[in-house]
Symmetry: C2
Subunit: 331 residues, 2 copies
């Protein structure tokens, strides 16, 4: 790897001249700049990240902490973040908490030791339950910027990006009602996450606004693995003409069971599910799905983070809370 020293030697100038020329300092002659840049290009000079970081205290890198990389939604957000980061010249370090508090704490420490300029996080379920955010609060004193997305704690004074879950599900429900559906059931495998609360809220308020709140029917499944029996019982014991699944699995399973075990009822039931576009094709016919716009959320998150990182020491800015409304794709 070429260094400034080597470039300087080849060109018979000093190291600082080379450095300044490459950084377009305006006290260097045009001619010199040109010569330096040309040589740098041919030798494929790249500044040494370690030297740069040591000097500037900035790594030009960010960390991302995801609860679950196997969830296609998070994978898509990650994609959005990485793309935006790469365009802006930032590297991305990725950590997976696997929904574990301990793992999340470790990830934060690892990223801190790597001197990332900022962190984008979607908080682990366990952390949200424990309500212990010290590891994240400490970041402020270390001047590491923080942006939350999706799973957000309001205890943290930082920018956040979220689907407007309530509004999105309200919209979806309204669209079902508009097509004549009246008995709309909701199924959730999300437990007590805020996400779940908001989505359920949206469902309820749509029914309420249409004067059919007596039809509210909610099925909570705990272990997605033991769902099959629960669903069969639910189908036997209830009437419904539409179903909204607010997690990323139950809709698929529900459709399969209904379709296979209750084919006569399947035809009249419209199912909408919070799944990824790609997974919508795992069933036949494909599921209607709620587009969670992961890539956009990722891009927005990164841009908020970048703004904070580039903010001067003395500037301030109040926390921003972005809300994105999901759209429904009827197949």
């Amino acid at each position: 790897m070429a260094t400034l020293k080597e470039l300087a030697k080849s060109l018979n100038v000093s190291i600082s001249t080379v450095s300044k020329a490459l950084n377009d300092a305006d006290d260097i002659g045009e001619e010199t700049k040109k010569r330096v840049k040309e040589l740098a290009a041919t030798l494929d000079y790249k500044p040494n990240k370690f030297a740069l970081g040591l000097k500037t205290k900035h790594s030009k890198s960010i960390g991302v902490i995801l609860p679950d990389i196997q969830n296609p939604y998070f994978a898509e957000v990650l994609y959005g973040i990485e793309k935006a980061a790469l365009d802006a010249g930032f590297d991305t370090l990725i950590c997976v908490s696997n929904e574990s508090y301990q793992q999340e704490v470790k990830s934060v420490r690892m990223l801190t030791e790597n001197l990332v300029d900022g962190i984008i996080i979607s908080i682990a379920k366990e952390t949200l339950n424990l309500k212990d955010f010290q590891h994240l609060e400490k970041l402020k004193s270390k001047k590491i910027q923080l942006v939350q997305f999706d799973r957000v704690s309001s205890n943290l004074a930082c920018d956040s990006v979220q689907i407007d879950d309530q509004e999105s599900v309200k919209n979806a429900t309204q669209q079902l009602i508009d097509t004549g559906k009246k008995h709309i059931a909701l199924i959730s495998g999300l437990g007590s996450l805020n996400v779940a609360k908001n989505r359920i809220q949206g469902y309820k308020s749509a029914l309420r606004e249409n004067g059919i709140s007596k039809h509210i029917k909610i099925l909570e499944v705990d272990h997605i693995e033991k769902t099959h029996v629960q669903f069969r019982n639910f189908i036997q014991q209830n009437t419904f003409d539409a179903v909204i699944s607010i997690d990323n699995k139950s809709g698929i399973i529900f459709q399969n069971i209904l379709q296979h075990q209750f084919p006569e009822r399947f035809e009249n039931v419209k199912i909408i599910s919070f799944i990824h576009e790609k997974d919508a094709l795992l069933t036949s016919p494909p599921l209607n799905y709620i587009n969670q716009r992961g890539a956009e959320i990722g891009a927005i998150s990164f841009n908020l983070l970048k703004e904070r990182i580039l903010l001067k020491e003395d500037e301030t800015k109040n926390p921003v809370h972005e809300k994105v409304i999901a759209s429904i794709n009827f197949q």
Copy 2:
């Protein structure tokens, strides 16, 4: 962040004493070591990565390039790598090539600029088609170690880890035959990947060894999105009592179509699929699946890489090719 300088000042010793004490150099007194380590612990001293890297030329980090993070298999391999790496004190930089050659080249450059000690890669489809591996060959001259897994090019002289696809599918097929199945069809959405060739080879040789090679029946689907019609036609036009899906989607779709549109035939057909454990539960009844042991493959890959990284300048070692045989989980 505490530095050696600060520790030295507090303890009234020199910086080099502190450094040596923390590194357990044997020319430092036990008493001094103890004092230094204690203070370091209470101040939560962590060596500055930039300074360390600048000095030692080692980043204690590795890069991972995956073709597709949304594929649960790759996500699982990643999990195995990260865990092993973390245990060994290495950081992991993750890149996604999205099956694109250009993106892969960019990822390699990014990782190189970050001075990773080694790279673990599963090569993008496009790169394999183009057969252009220059970006990977260059790594050797930069002393960046390389390990390939899963999608492997034999043109590259480096360690590799793979499922023994042929043997695994041969095993699976044999197990179907052992339960009395004779008309076993194979469906593939993998195109011309080597993986596909080997898996098909295993299928064929099992049938051949059992003297039923006349029953070889292979369906190739190109765009997984347009599969539904192809499958219906195939089911109508062929007889079979078992199906092996060698990719991670078609088995699910196939079972759904067979089950829903041809219920009378479904009962007699055994389906085995190359899917992830978690996805096996997306159908009801759950699919039989071939356990690809992603986490193990990840761990093995990292350990091979680590050995290379820790190899002294003058030591050499011939490339190792690890083969892992998949197991079949009948539900």
